[in-house]
């Protein structure tokens, strides 16, 4: 086995433990978490049941389900937990030269957005596990975003006390926290439920490169000698000429949806040091 001792209280060492024979790509550090929705996991899912008695949308402050005693909360929006808002303002300019102002619309009249759970509920998890905390909800169902009232009480809002559930399992022997996500936080299949079906579709559909360290965009990059660079689009079927083909789902120079469904393993190349891995430069024995 790998290292022969670990401090039982060192959760970081346990979380990042490299089992003998495991490469780095098996570790949580290799999985992206700017999850929209994610590639390996939709890690937003672990927050859905943080408040005992209700189930939140993994990516919205919307109550999707509840135990019988809280059925009335289904369809409502959570605004804050304790002193911590789970929504924030959206501001910016709408015209050149204009100042910034709340960005409102018919579907978002208050100009607000939900803040991802991982950050907005971090204090709640740190300070309130196992205890109840006042949660501010809209008083009625709210399919669209709703802003926080200037002052409370406000008849359009209701405070409900809810218990904060631990995210991590506990040791039966010591009562201490373990480094494993608790069983009742996410059952089998739930950590991947929000991902694209099939995942190959997302590699073509998204046409965006917010995940370049996992799903590269710009590869085989070289200096042009004019102070700029050039290189290949990762999806380019041919690497010559070395030019970046702007993404276009209909451009036959790029890998298509059908290419990915049928043969993603043959079409996509591993990138090492920013370039195609050496094995992709070898003559293909099957003449692919």
């Amino acid at each position: 086995m790998s290292d022969d001792r670990i401090d039982p209280l060192n959760l970081t060492a346990q979380l990042n433990h490299t089992a003998a024979g495991n490469p780095p790509s098996t570790l949580p550090e290799s999985a992206i978490s700017n999850a929209y929705p994610g590639l390996e996991f939709d890690i937003r899912t672990i927050w859905r049941r943080l408040l005992v008695g209700i189930e939140l949308h993994e990516a919205d402050n919307y109550v999707v389900d509840a135990q019988p005693e809280h059925q009335g909360l289904i369809g409502r929006r959570l605004i804050s937990v304790g002193d911590h808002d789970v929504i924030g303002p959206v501001v910016g300019p709408t015209r050149p030269g204009a100042g910034s102002a709340p960005l409102t619309s018919a579907g978002n009249p208050d100009g607000v957005m939900m803040l991802e759970w991982s950050n907005s509920l971090a204090d709640v998890l740190a300070d309130h596990v196992g205890r109840t905390v006042p949660c501010l909800f809209t008083a009625d169902a709210a399919p669209n975003p709703v802003g926080k009232p200037a002052q409370l009480p406000d008849p359009r809002f209701q405070v409900v006390e809810l218990e904060v559930r631990p995210l991590f399992a506990r040791s039966a022997a010591t009562g201490e926290r373990l480094a494993v996500i608790a069983e009742d936080v996410a059952g089998p299949g739930e950590l991947t439920s929000g991902l694209c079906s099939p995942w190959q579709n997302d590699y073509r559909e998204c046409a965006c490169y917010y995940w370049a360290a996992s799903r590269p965009d710009y590869v085989n990059v070289e200096d042009t000698g004019a102070g700029t660079t050039t290189g290949n689009h990762w999806f380019a079927k041919d690497r010559e000429p070395r030019e970046y083909v702007l993404d276009n789902r209909d451009d036959s120079r790029l890998v298509s949806y059908d290419d990915l469904f049928r043969d993603w393993q043959g079409e996509l190349r591993f990138i090492v040091g920013g370039d195609d891995a050496p094995e992709h430069l070898e003559a293909d024995p099957e003449g692919r």
């Binding site: 098996t26 672990i46 950050n119 360290a213 965009d217 102070g227």
Partner: protein, 463 residues
Amino acid sequence: MTTIRELRVLPPLAIGRLGAATEPMDNYTAETDPDQPLAPRRLRPAPTLRVDPATGAITGADTPERLRFTDGHGKVRPVAPFLEVWALTDDDVLRPLTVDLLEANDLTPDDVQWRVRVGNHKIQRRTYDDDDRIDADTEWFSDHTAHVLMGLCANFLDDKFLPLGHARYVKPTPEFPGIRLRFTPAGGHVYGSAYTDRPTDPDPNVVDFLYDATRGKWRGHADQPGDPRLTIPAQIYAGDDGPDGSWVSRGYLDDECDGLVHVKLEVLGRELSAFGRIGAGPPAYAPDSVPIRTVADELDQALFGPRATDRDGLEHARAVAEEVLRRATETVRLMNTEVMNGNTVDGRVDAASTMVRQDTADTGRLYEPIMAPSLVDAGAVLALHQHVLAALRSGTAPWFADVLRDHDEVGDLTAKGRRKMPALMRGADGRSLALTRRQVDLVRLAARQAIFRQAGDETRGPR
């Protein structure tokens, strides 16, 4: 005698990666260069455990001469993680569970039992139909054969199942006496949906039809606009344009999954149990790069809170700051920053899906590039990251603390707000990416205290 008090499965979250090659991916390390900290991590082959397909025992731990991520015949080598069982013993030590430790407790490897439960609930998440859940359960076993993870679903065609890989209790030997399980993920195939009340056209995109499109709703499903329960983003499934702007599912499914690996053992009349988690995702196509914000960062913040604490020494903060910068560099190295900035490229305005496009589409914000278009060539942005590192190391970067985006500033779409770091990337709430609050706090600690850094600082204890 060293008595076993508790079991733990390590790592507690192990990631498998899909691939149809017969031989799993070899082991390797990814090492940074202290002299060139922002250079690509160096991948080096590492001792690789070879499991005999016939016996389930490890036959050796050789180090390959070179790394190959594919088999040379068009198939990707799956990443098949091992999960080790560790034991908390009565001397408060956490140590590997081995044949010797079992024997010391009057037990043998046959007394260890495993159970693996995984699921693929992607379809159910869209249709809300519990009969669309795909689940596999090995039930308890203690042999060393490969247990196929047969994904069963009420809405599958008769006698069909989704292969989700397999799990194997590796047979301990004198040379490799540890108690471990190996999860080998599936091949990464795409499956389809067929009708039973009418003919279904052949589809070269799928390797088999599994789902009964007559009984279930997945083929032909369309996310309904205005339904607040939809995935975010919505309509992320293989489909085709339908009436009234709808996106109609082709009924495709994949063989990704996640779930739990349980282990149990009866010690002195007490049943001890533990579990770890596994998942199967796509290959890491840039294996020498690390995403700027990772699942490990999420779990780290969930475990230790959003703020740096007295347990976090300054050196740890500096290491986190340098790692964040390294990861940012790795992303920039693989990203066309001119395109992602919203520049006009080759005469095309709005040339790709960028935060510029998303901000305008989602909020009505003015469409304009995030940074000055002349400043964002990839080479220039890489050089900028080098300068930031040099400033951090020399203690002249307290300003760096102020350019990081706070979690509650993601809706700040002013010109200044959008230029905060990390820039050009999308976060889990759909707006510009913010790091975890704990990452931000540690980076700020490093940036602000670096200016006071003195010779001999390395030995200073926690803050």
